[in-house]
Assembly symmetry: C2
Homo-oligomer: 310 residues x 2
């Protein structure tokens, strides 16, 4: 019923037609011939079973449906661009100008975009990205192996300069059929500590933050229900009903929004935390590192001024 999803080239073609107002020009921009573009677009319309563009003899213009699909396509393409920027940065060679290490959560949600923005304004700088956990990233920054690290640890390790680039919050999440989903009262920290949870491996910022919170209570913490080394895997396990987990709200935004996961309030403990850029203390930031830092912090400033923008 849903049909097969369209391919990225077709979506790009649609956006180009919207921008340029002509199939032929869009084809040229994509480096293909006009008939190829014509066929592609016809194919796309057939697959979606929607009339997307009105072909006039004086150019083509998107239909109302076409405009909507075009906007949605742009979002898909933007994510794809982020992915490609991230992939390019993962391909670390030794001849790159700026080497960056990052915790998983930050790498997943922010770094491709930042790196993409950096490449966009200085296309010739080569940035490489190493994805680890907060502990490792901080250690690499401390040893000077990298130009900049991005961490989500509760405290910035000594010997590092730092600057806050964002904030997030940990949430306790369960599947909708979990007993906690029907609670009216918040969970007490002691109860949370006694409950086996699905957690990340030691060293990850998420786990460190959680343990720091729970050790404040004089309750023997329960053994983990399951240890997984990727936020996505934990998220999938919670959705599948394996048990509760504590995750960054960033990583479960979608699931909370559409009801696949529910947030369980926790009484009295502060689950906010800050995201930091760190670099070796006293080191003069190179041009590109400086630029990346300013991109990361500009984003933060922009967010601070906008009220519930998305």
């Amino acid at each position: 019923m849903g049909g097969t999803p369209p391919d990225f080239e077709s979506l790009l073609l649609l956006t180009l037609v919207a921008e340029l107002g002509s199939l032929g020009q869009a084809a040229e921009r994509m480096g293909i011939s006009q008939p190829a573009a014509s066929k592609r677009l016809a194919m796309l319309e057939r697959r979606l079973r929607l009339a997307l563009v009105d072909r006039g003899s004086r150019g083509s213009v998107l239909t109302t449906e076409g405009k909507a699909v075009c906007q949605w396509s742009e979002r898909v393409l933007a994510e794809m661009e982020s992915l490609m920027a991230g992939v390019a940065a993962l391909r670390a060679d030794r001849d790159d100008d700026l080497r960056v290490a990052s915790s998983m959560t930050l790498a997943e949600h922010f770094l491709p975009r930042w790196i993409g923005a950096l490449r966009q304004r200085s296309p010739d700088v080569r940035v490489s990205l190493k994805v680890t956990n907060s502990e490792q990233a901080a250690a690499m920054a401390g040893r000077g192996e990298i130009g900049m690290g991005f961490i989500e640890a509760p405290a910035v390790p000594p010997g590092l300069s730092s600057r806050q680039v964002g904030a997030d919050r940990l949430v306790v999440v369960v599947a909708p059929n979990h007993p906690w989903a029907r609670r009216r009262l918040p969970v007490e920290p002691a109860e949370l500590a006694r409950t086996p949870l699905i957690v990340r491996e030691p060293g990850s910022g998420t786990r460190e933050t959680l343990e720091r919170i729970l050790t404040g209570i004089d309750v023997e913490p329960a053994r983990p229900l399951m240890v997984l080394d990727a936020n996505a895997a934990i998220r999938a396990a919670v959705v599948a009903g394996v048990g509760p987990a504590v995750l960054s709200v960033i990583t479960v935004r979608e699931e909370l929004a559409d009801g696949r996961l529910l947030e369980v309030p926790v009484a009295g403990v502060e689950l906010h935390r800050r995201l930091h850029a760190v670099w070796p203390k006293g080191r003069r930031l190179t041009g590109s590192a400086q630029e990346l830092l300013s991109i990361a912090s500009r984003r933060r400033r922009a967010r601070a001024t906008s009220v519930r923008e998305s």
Copy 2:
């Protein structure tokens, strides 16, 4: 240098391998044979020039790079799913249970997700979506042609029941090379009114809100610099340096974040506005309309409690 972007199926395959831990099982889930999956993945790795999975004889596990790419892929796939949900809803037949109309801004950024969530929990309801502007959507709701409308007008028209489902803010944006980008002082409303702007067509919520603000000042408003009927087109024009525009911050989030556009502060006028669901007054909401409304407002509640989550 960047290489061609990977195709959708390969990204899905990667996420399935991550989830299931085996190429063969992932292949089965996708409805293809195991060798096909093997070849696809090898192809993907060759194109990205990254080792994504460690093949052991007792299953396959993602490498560190693979995990990162997998996470980014999930974001691409999520946007693609939204697109497909929206496309399915655009394909209006006359035998659908719930007909929805929406302004462009809301349709672009929220409705596919909401409709997707609705379909996910009640897969058999058929939802159709008509994308217009706020004025039209409100009128259709008033005439009872649709079960629910989503509008961004400054005021809810009389004769409609409504509920707030979100909020956003209008911003004045310019390209980085525009004179206003270097201003230190905010723009005065009178100056904004005198300046030719790139605007949407009359009837759009964005334009109505803008005009309502500017008519408060006793200055003859300048004629529009350009009238375009899509937010994306306006955005592209501003980026290209055609001139300033006033847009919803939602639609220029990316561009503000990576510096392609700059926000120009405006002195003294309130540019916030509310996003509303509307339906014919007194009409009892049907089950699916009720459900959609609760999805839309739940999202809002979740946002209200989360602090700078994204």
